[in-house]
């Protein structure tokens, strides 16, 4: 970023967040070995600068990292000695800025045309997690009749958020979009999957965003607050535009992007294979501290 541009970004709204994301996996019996991949490092993007980020593991292990197809930074490691639990700590310091103005909405025909002749196509095709019935797509079509892509994203997000209430514990990590709709309850992951399914059904390329949401808009400096890892969407309207259907708002300086993909499976924060007996779900805590 050239100095010239940085002066034009208003420091108003800019914030600096320290994020501590701890994942504790406890095995029912010690695991003989495990192989893991972690996607927890925030990206550096036009509205977001990652100043510092590290992933540490206990028991200690050498880690390596690479950028995957989706542009997410991946940390890999293996543990080849028996271990009773595994603690992954991802800490980062990220500066975020308020989003800029939305791009001028393209005509639907232009969206269709661009999608067919580019990689956008992979964000316009349903995946097993983002498949819904034709009747549901029809409802989305009615809700979005006559609207441009920006308005459509908002209308479809509302349709989903009106139907699916945010109720942690009602769905699991493997719940599909269709199941969440039928149940009328879910978490941000389900609401994002449903919104993606419907927007793709209407021909709007949409991707799943994994990251963090700072829970308090006007947080006091240096006071840690508990939060969660979060999921929202980005749709393509000439450029990628973030929207958070769970909170019915544009993705802004409270959102920190870690990875983007077709659905949760492309950006899973922790994926591991271990030799041992099945254990319970991991304990996850995310702590935010606004430092500037």
């Amino acid at each position: 970023m050239t100095p010239q541009i940085s002066t034009t970004i208003s420091t108003q709204g800019t914030r600096r967040l320290r994020i501590n994301h701890t994942t504790k996996v406890s095995y029912a019996q010690p695991a003989a070995s495990s192989h893991n991949e972690v996607r927890m490092t925030p990206l550096t993007l036009p509205g977001q600068t990652t100043l510092d980020a590290r992933v540490t593991v206990s028991p200690a292990a050498a880690t390596w990292s690479y950028w995957d197809y989706w542009g997410t930074q991946v940390t890999g490691f293996d543990l080849m000695d028996p271990h009773a639990d595994l603690i992954i700590t991802a800490s980062s310091l990220v500066e975020t800025h308020p989003p800029g103005p939305l791009p001028v909405a393209p005509a639907w025909a232009e969206v269709t045309e661009c999608t067919a002749v580019s990689r956008l196509l992979e964000f316009a095709t349903s995946t097993p997690r983002t498949t819904v019935g034709a009747e549901l797509v029809e409802r989305a079509r009615e809700a979005a009749a006559g609207l441009d892509p920006h308005e459509t994203a908002v209308a479809v997000s509302s349709l989903v958020a009106d139907r699916v209430s945010y109720l942690p514990g009602t769905t699991g990590v493997n719940t599909s979009a269709a199941e969440a709709w039928d149940q009328g309850a879910g978490v941000c992951q389900d609401i994002a999957h449903l919104t993606i399914a419907l927007l793709r059904g209407l021909g709007l390329p949409t991707r799943y965003v994994s990251g963090y949401l700072h829970p308090e808009r006007e947080a006091e400096l240096h006071r840690p607050v508990a939060g969660q890892s979060h999921a929202w969407i980005e749709y393509w309207a000439g450029d990628w535009c973030g929207y958070d259907p769970t909170n019915r708002t544009r993705a802004d300086e409270s959102h920190v992007v870690v990875g983007r993909g077709r659905d949760y499976d492309d950006v899973t924060p922790h994926k591991g294979i271990y030799r041992g007996v099945p254990g319970g779900p991991p304990e996850v805590t995310v702590q935010f501290t606004r430092v500037a």
């Binding site: 070995s33 192989h35 197809y69 293996d78 067919a116 002749v117 196509l121 591991g272």
Partner: protein, 513 residues
């Protein structure tokens, strides 16, 4: 004199041996002269003996749930030097074009940007493994081994039927067929100079070693098999043995610090190249199917980091999709600036506007193939299908046009094949095997000729009841006559008596196990 060829009536196709009834092609003259005087009962006896030898050696295949000896017909399939030159150049060209396509698809994607191949072909393919994106394999090789299926059409021209660049199998049968033929008909090889096939394992090993990660001193190669229950286990074991490398299963390997190691009684030793005979989906439960217990967790990460080479590379399935097949002639022109040496069979893409209607209009006259079918599964041959099958196929194509291609039915060439106690024309194809070491694409002389053993049948896969023939490539120029072996027909298992001294004998050193 009545002989086994007397009643041989040509079918409505190009016959490999006879130009016209009673008029043999030059390349086949010595074979005809040798076979003609043999009594039918003796031929049958030799055929049975060969079957027993195959069973004894474990050269079998599964058909309809039972283990059967590998069916090798006694009449060889012969390609003269000119024909072979064409096949070899055509196969090499095809492999070079598919390599370029894979490098492009997992890299800069020029062919898609330039509109040569539609994006959807790549992005919607279940075989597009994004984990392979950006991986630059040593020497640029992703297709270490290819099997390109050819047929000869009514006019006698070779055409490509399909490409196999994932884990092509069958080369062990080429080696075993030759081994058996030199024992059953040693004298045949005295008449003509047939190019040997026993150099394959060394060529493969050299290519695999050349594919080791940069800077590896004395690379260690292993063959990774799904295990003894796999239909091709015999081949995995044979190749490992002939190459002199370890045959391993997933649990014999371990990934530690993003490198691959093999467990041995002396501790863990590093592995640099894995000739894997497992499908992508089963290779690494961390990256692909999490329920796979035959793979090795972490191996994909090691490959991505360049610490181990997987041969063939992960993600090659985007290049042998039958829909991509229809674009290969364009890919040859685009990447290589050459004209295709071997044409495709004329094909339709039902997914394209207008073509679906064209296919449905004449579905009874076309061959319909699922783009993802392997081993001849799901192929419907319109002219031979009943009403119900046609209707079912029509519905399936309408429901999923991307899932099928349609082709003109080719009357595959025929070759005289022992049926009962006489010769009858049976349809055949040819799978040449190519090995790419990064400098050169080498094509094993001959390849696997498969035979549809039932009269009129056009599907040659062994899983569909097909047989095979020893495939000869004749050396250029006059026959080099080695000392004719005098071995008589053995009355015990023939493998114990070899016609040593002929240039075509498989190395004995590797045989006794």
């Amino acid at each position: 004199m009545a002989d086994i060829f007397d009643a041989y009536a040509l079918a409505d196709a190009w016959d490999e041996m006879f130009e016209r009834p009673g008029e043999v092609r030059t390349a086949y003259e010595p074979v005809l002269a040798a076979l003609q005087p043999i009594e039918p009962s003796e031929l049958r006896f030799r055929a049975d003996q060969m079957a027993r030898a195959f069973t004894d050696r474990g050269v079998t295949y599964a058909f309809a749930g039972e283990e059967r000896p590998w069916p090798l017909d006694l009449v060889p399939r012969i390609l003269d030097a000119l024909e072979w030159d064409l096949v070899q150049r055509g196969v090499g060209q095809r492999v070079r074009a598919l390599e370029a396509y894979l490098a492009d698809a997992y890299g800069h994607a020029r062919a898609f940007e330039d509109g040569v191949v539609p994006w959807r072909l790549l992005l919607n393919s279940p075989h597009f493994h994004r984990a392979a994106h950006g991986v630059e394999p040593p020497g640029g090789v992703r297709i270490h081994v290819a099997g390109i299926d050819l047929v000869r059409d009514e006019a006698g021209d070779f055409r490509v039927l399909e490409d196999n660049v994932r884990v092509p199998s069958g080369v062990s049968y080429v080696i075993e067929n030759r081994r058996a033929m030199t024992r059953i008909f040693p004298s045949l090889f005295g008449e003509q100079h047939v190019l040997p096939v026993d150099g394959y394992p060394q060529k493969l090993l050299a290519a695999l070693r050349a594919a080791a990660p940069d800077g590896t001193q004395d690379p260690r190669v292993v063959v990774l098999t799904p295990g003894p229950n796999n239909a091709a286990y015999f081949e995995h074991a044979l190749l490992a043995r002939l190459m002199g490398v370890q045959l391993v299963e997933g649990h014999d390997l371990v990934c530690r610090s993003n490198r691959v190691w093999m467990r041995t009684t002396r501790g863990e030793v590093p592995v640099h190249v894995v000739y894997r005979r497992l499908d992508d989906d089963f290779l690494d439960p961390l990256h692909f199917r999490p329920d796979s217990v035959i793979g090795c967790p972490g191996i994909m990460g090691a490959a991505m980091a360049g610490n181990v080479t997987l041969a063939n590379a992960v993600g090659n399935g985007i290049a042998d999709d039958k829909l991509l097949y229809t674009y290969v002639p364009d890919l040859i022109r685009y990447y290589l600036a050459e004209e295709p040496i071997l044409p495709n069979v004329e094909s339709y893409r039902p997914e394209e506007p207008g073509q679906l209607e064209a296919v449905l209009d004449q579905i009874e006259q076309l061959v319909i193939k699922p783009v993802d079918g392997a081993g001849g599964q799901g192929i419907v041959i319109g002219p031979k299908a009943d009403r119900d099958t046609i209707e079912r196929t029509r519905k399936a194509v309408i429901a999923d046009p991307r899932g099928f291609i349609a082709q003109r039915p080719v009357a595959l060439s025929t070759s005289p094949t022992l049926a009962g106690e006489r010769m009858a024309p049976r349809h055949i194809d040819l799978r040449p095997f190519a090995v790419n070491d990064g400098n050169d694409v080498w094509v094993l002389p001959g390849g696997l000729t498969r035979v549809a053993l039932q009269e009129g049948n056009l599907i040659v896969n062994s899983s569909q009841g097909g047989g095979s023939k020893d495939t000869w490539v004749l050396a250029e120029g006059p026959a080099v006559r080695p000392a004719a072996p005098t071995t008589a027909l053995p009355d015990v298992a023939p493998r114990q008596l070899g016609p040593d001294g002929t240039p075509t004998v498989v190395q004995e050193g590797a045989q006794q196990q």
